[in-house]
Symmetry: C2
Subunit: 387 residues, 2 copies
Amino acid sequence: MRIVDVREITQPIASPIRNAYIDFSKMTTSLVAVVTDVVRDGRRVVGYGFNSNGRYGQGGLIRERFAPRLLEAEAKGLLNDTGDNLDPDRCWAAMMKNEKPGGHGERSVAVGTLDMAIWDATAKIAGKPLFRLLADRHGREADPRVFVYAAGGYYYPGKDDDALRAEMRSYLDRGYRVVKMKIGGASQAEDRRRIEAVLTEIGSDAELAVDANGRFDLETAIAYAKALREYPLFWYEEAGDPLDYALQAALAEFYPGPMATGENLFSHQDARNLLRHGGMRPDRDWLQFDCALSYGLCEYQRTLAALKVSGWGWDRCIPHGGHQMSLNIAAGLGLGGNESYPDLFQPYGGFPDSVRVEDSVITMPELPGIGFEGKSDLIKVMRELAE
Amino acid sequence: MRIVDVREITQPIASPIRNAYIDFSKMTTSLVAVVTDVVRDGRRVVGYGFNSNGRYGQGGLIRERFAPRLLEAEAKGLLNDTGDNLDPDRCWAAMMKNEKPGGHGERSVAVGTLDMAIWDATAKIAGKPLFRLLADRHGREADPRVFVYAAGGYYYPGKDDDALRAEMRSYLDRGYRVVKMKIGGASQAEDRRRIEAVLTEIGSDAELAVDANGRFDLETAIAYAKALREYPLFWYEEAGDPLDYALQAALAEFYPGPMATGENLFSHQDARNLLRHGGMRPDRDWLQFDCALSYGLCEYQRTLAALKVSGWGWDRCIPHGGHQMSLNIAAGLGLGGNESYPDLFQPYGGFPDSVRVEDSVITMPELPGIGFEGKSDLIKVMRELAE
């Protein structure tokens, strides 16, 4: 068996929203297909992948370096020992040949996107849902029930507190019990007013997390911490620059509640630095590394190994990105849950059509691969690329 | 005045060499031109830039995001207050619009390459060598004399100790008094033999630095440190993964001599983390951040500001990359020197034709801009792109 083609198309996932750092008016994603010559259930096996929102599609890098390396590698060198399936780690090594260490951005997205498609193909060839394949490989029992929370509360032109409250209410109506909103894109007084409006709206029906998207310097992060600690928040996310570990460590002095960060750290080395230098607390804080932006699941497993070395449970991970890939990792390897954007970045994000959110938990269907075939709007654009 | 065009071409800088991490058989660079409508000395002013070796050309990202943002920005917003020249920081802000924090790789190269061209154009429009423009802006006196060392000693097929010695001798013959060779791509015993061969060859005529290119884990880095500290080396470079600050800090316990690192840290946040967490010693160690890979000179000035906050002198910086851009920064802002690859990556690296290395020092000629017009083989390929 072999990989016969690798395709990429860059698609808009633009929306009029903004967070404290960027607007999404020109946001794109790369949709990729890894086409094999294997047939299952009368159909050629094609693995699909895409990157999470926020870091743009990677058509250039995929075409310049990573797809050619996969296609030019000796076919056998990409397979497992018995030669009957792809070996994702060997595919990963082929893609990363002649890449220097350090500099983990952009290429981490290109490789993460292709890695998703490779794992999708691998699980389809094995005839298993990816989460079951993963659990088997790690000698664990899969748990198809995964915690999910609703990420939204973006800023956009003309959005007032009533609109924000209605948005949050709609997430509750759809079964979520934890919701998230953006902060740091307005004055602190305005953000407090927005937070209080949402807390009033959700009452005891749900909990609220807030996300500053790395906007604050140390003084502002501390000022917000002092204000936010008066509210019963689910977490205070990405206060400062994602690489400012000293800021993160200093914040713990001012904020006793849970904090979350990591969505903009794209390698196991960067993740390890957060654990070593960021003062994060393994009994309450959350880690949001997103494999689709971070060299994929092969690398994510190295990140999980680094967590183990540092004494962190894998259940402290709730990845960024809202994609089915991380749902599979959560169900297969016991992560704490996954992000979800109920109204954004469609058709890429979200769940298979049959899945319902109940009490902020979804149950994974038993679909071979990552499960894209169960989401009709998504598999339609995927098949347009490669089938 | 305005920017009328931004051009990019990806060119091979392939060579049969390898370091401990990668081979350079498919290495490329992006050559870019920022074309203005300003005329100086009867010629349209075009700024040129290229990226350093090791991280590949960035045609995809430049075309997808960074060149369009420059060309779509309001022309006035890219100029200084008097409107008679570009403002590199405003150009930088336009390029980085809607880019999230963190993830400093690849795009840092794309932006660094364009930033080089923007500074070249800015200094040409001002009618000054870039190093004098920079010194003026910082209220310093420029020193056109810059320390340079010869980087080589790569591994390549069939290269024996005699060839290595002859290579090093040739650098001495060309005026260098510090030479550098690769380690970590062979066994420790073999590397010791290679080092001793070179030390015998250069005797008291020169000093030797060694470079592991981030290859070693902690145990190997320590084992090498114990062996290397017996030699009078100029420095021990990039022992471990560039982001493994804890490894770097641990090494100081075993290696009292000078160490050097930083060429694979591509933002001021990453550089600051090295200073905060890497245990580097401001009285003897060297910092090798390379602006061409790291969002350019606008960002490099933020890195220098972080050095000041941490108590480091700018003369502890000897950048990676061997390009005239860093020569200008060294001469203008008092860095400790610059890398040079006498036999590699031509025509991009090296000096203007009139420049000679004497006692490992070069003297900057008084050419407007970065000085590419003084290097005939380089300006020829540059003008083919845009003039």
